[in-house]
């Protein structure tokens, strides 16, 4: 038997391996169903979403008040805006990591605001991929295992072949057993992209994915994200500060314009 270090976490045995869904207790939330876009091509539809945060001195601070935002299947959109303007908060709302004070967020046809936290976890795992600015690879796991974890948590069977294919696609087939600390910054981001795609999401959220990589790697990272989303018909919403990056997108939205709170300032 190979050593722990060289053995992929979830190598092979696809049929025998339990899915996250099979391990979880039955979901009693009636609103949680398999995601569908059969009656609409909108992967994301936001209506009248307001998000506030408690302020240290009391009172509430409204950071987002978005009347309408829609992304269609396969559409690619860059989101720009000033620092602290609520871009990451918006991504967290769409991923179901935060809940809005009011309004509606539908992802792949599922109304997030009516789901329990457990339901949002399932929805996120099944429909959303997330690429972070700081990659956030799990340091205890190898590159291939990080990708497999993306599947394991994504209510899907562990598809080892797909994991290796994705790693090959991002040019790291020969780094499968490397830990994050054995990879360069650019390589780590490429693994993070492969992980975000592992669960076959309907929507990929990318939070400044090129901010921490060098310019050469930045192009590679962008090519990978944009190309992969196009190939797999995944809607893409990428937060960026870079005008160079926005040139790669047909649709560019300014959060300042989407967000009604800026109208009142």
């Amino acid at each position: 038997m190979a050593s722990w270090k060289l053995t992929p976490l979830l190598h092979g045995k696809l049929e025998a391996y339990p899915t996250a869904a099979s391990l979880d207790p039955p979901d009693t939330d009636p609103t949680v169903t398999e995601p569908t876009t059969s009656n609409t091509s909108d992967v994301l539809k936001i209506s009248d979403v307001i998000k506030t945060f408690d302020q240290p001195g009391g009172g509430k601070l409204t950071v987002l008040d978005i009347p309408d935002l829609t992304i269609r299947a396969g559409e690619q959109m860059a989101l720009i805006g000033q620092s602290g303007g609520g871009k990451t908060t918006l991504l967290h709302l769409i991923a179901g990591l935060l809940t809005p004070d009011s309004g509606s967020i539908r992802v792949a046809g599922i109304e997030l605001t009516k789901l329990s936290e457990q339901g949002r976890d399932r929805c996120r795992a099944a429909t959303v991929g997330y690429v972070f600015q700081t990659f956030n690879l799990l340091p205890a796991f190898s590159a291939i295992e990080n990708i497999q974890l993306g599947m394991a948590f994504g209510n899907r069977a562990i598809d080892t072949h797909r994991a290796y294919d994705l790693l090959g696609k991002v040019g790291l087939a020969d780094r499968a057993t490397y830990r994050p600390n054995q990879l360069s910054v650019g390589q780590q981001q490429r693994v993070a992209i492969a992980r975000a795609l592992a669960g076959k999401p309907k929507l990929l959220l990318a939070d400044e994915p090129t901010a921490n990589v060098d310019p050469a790697s930045s192009d590679t990272v962008l090519d990978l994200i944009i190309g992969s989303c196009r190939d797999e018909n995944i809607a893409l919403m990428m937060v960026t500060h870079s005008m160079e990056v926005t040139k790669r997108f047909e649709r560019v939205e300014h959060l300042d314009k989407l967000n009604r709170i800026f109208e009142t300032i």
């Binding site: 391990l23 795992a125 972070f132 340091p139 948590f153």
Partner: protein
């Protein structure tokens, strides 16, 4: 299964902390297992020693426990001595008369049965004379009956087996009255064997040495009883050592012996008034008569009878048991402390892991999933620690099994387990669950948004 693998990877990733925590738990478990083993060995040893083959120990009035300790275990100091005539009360008139003829004394002693004869019926009474030492080991003056009539072992059917030589006799052409038989441990520790001679010391191990030497004629095979650490000498030879004869008052009626064997060195057995016994080992022919005899002896003015089994049980319950229980409690506390160590180690690691937990949540893991991973880590430490500790303890016990068998007669194998050991694993798992709850709760409460942004 994949949750377990995630937990295992986290365990390996923080290998130093994980291993140290596991070692502390393993040592705690090893301590508990060893204490339980000691508990078992001591209980077994006491139980074996309680299989003495006789119902009663009779000695002078005083502490029954002290009488048992010095006559059964050859520990503690003898209380006092009884006149030889007290020993003669266990024999019929003919035997008593024969004693008078052999040793010399008042002929009237042989004119009646001993007062305890009706209760002995088919049993025996064996005298012991204590007070001398060979090195640190007790010298026990007794008669050949000790080796002929006493039995030991679980069924009380095992006779004494000589590993070397023979049992002592009351008088031999070769060594006269001065023959000795050594317990197995005495022979091994003092490197004595058949044919060797030794002088016993009077009163304590550093006491004055007696002039007349005993010759070793036999070495007992190990019995797992206190007899392994005793030196048995012919009681007649014991009496003939200087200062062992009871001073006469001049008022005694003594008819000189007519049947004493001729001794090449001119030694003659002491007369009955000069003889004393420290204790008498008594077995009644019918077990129920033991109680009657015990009552009757205890009603007498001079002597007391104690049931060794009862006294040993009292000793276990009064001293040894509570001591072992206290030891067990202390080691269990050690286990709890080790479990707290697990808690502290995992809890301290939580600060470094909040981002990992947030990432797992962002990838779709539920709160319950990340909580389960943390609990599994705690269980991993517990299972590895408990298993390692268990094997460590048993390997240690096994390593000393020869010594333990030599000292106590209790055989211990590497897989000899105490019934209580099977409670250790569930107990450790419960402790691990408790230790894991706090960090697991911390994982459960981890705020994803805050920690992803951190």
């Amino acid at each position: 299964m994949w949750l377990l693998r995630i937990a295992w990877r986290n365990f390996c990733y923080r290998s130093l902390s994980s291993v140290l925590t596991t070692i502390s738990l393993a040592l705690g478990v090893a301590l508990v297992v060893m204490v339980l083993a000691v508990f078992g060995i001591v209980t077994e040893a006491f139980s074996r020693n309680a299989q003495v083959g006789y119902n009663l120990v009779v000695g002078p009035k005083g502490s029954a426990l002290q009488l048992t300790l010095n006559s059964v275990y050859y520990l503690s100091q003898p209380i006092e001595n009884l006149p030889y005539t007290e020993y003669m009360e266990y024999f019929d008139a003919d035997t008593r008369a024969a004693m008078v003829r052999k040793y010399g004394g008042d002929p009237a002693l042989g004119e009646r049965d001993g007062v305890y004869v009706p209760m002995i019926g088919g049993g025996y009474a064996i005298p012991l004379a204590l007070g001398d030492y060979l090195g640190d080991f007790r010298v026990v003056g007794t008669t050949p009956d000790f080796f002929e009539k006493l039995r030991h072992g679980p069924t009380l059917e095992e006779p004494f087996v000589m590993r070397e030589g023979r049992a002592l006799v009351s008088h031999s052409e070769e060594y006269g009255y001065f023959e000795a038989v050594l317990g197995s441990r005495v022979a091994g520790q003092l490197n004595l064997s058949v044919g060797d001679q030794f002088s016993s010391t009077h009163g304590d191990p550093e006491g004055k040495g007696h002039g007349k030497k005993f010759t070793v004629v036999g070495v007992l095979a190990p019995t797992g009883t206190p007899n392994d650490r005793a030196t048995f000498v012919n009681m007649e030879g014991f009496y003939l050592q200087e200062n062992h004869a009871k001073p006469l008052t001049g008022e005694e009626t003594i008819v000189p012996p007519s049947e004493a064997p001729e001794d090449p060195d001119g030694f003659m057995p002491l007369t009955i008034p000069e003889r004393e016994v420290t204790s008498i080992l008594v077995r009644t022919g019918m077990p129920m008569m033991g109680v009657v005899l015990e009552n009757q002896v205890n009603e007498s003015l001079r002597s007391q009878a104690a049931a060794p089994v009862g006294e040993i049980a009292k000793l276990m319950n009064a001293i040894i048991g509570p001591l072992l229980t206290a030891l067990l409690v202390i080691t269990l506390i050690t286990c709890v402390v080790a479990a707290v160590g697990v808690l502290v180690a995992i809890y301290n690691s939580m600060n470094d892991r909040r981002r990992d937990i947030a990432v797992m949540r962002a990838l779709g893991a539920r709160r319950g999933t990340v909580t389960g991973v943390i609990l599994l880590e705690s269980f991993l430490v517990a299972v590895i620690g408990a298993t390692t500790g268990w094997f460590l303890a048993h390997a240690s016990i096994w390593a000393f099994s020869g010594l333990i068998e030599d000292r106590t007669g209790v055989q211990v194998g590497i897989l000899t387990t105490s019934a209580y050991e099977w409670y250790i694993f569930p107990l450790v798992l419960i402790l691990a669950a408790l230790a894991g709850i706090l960090p697991a709760a911390s994982a459960y409460r981890t705020d994803v948004g805050t920690n992803l942004a951190a």
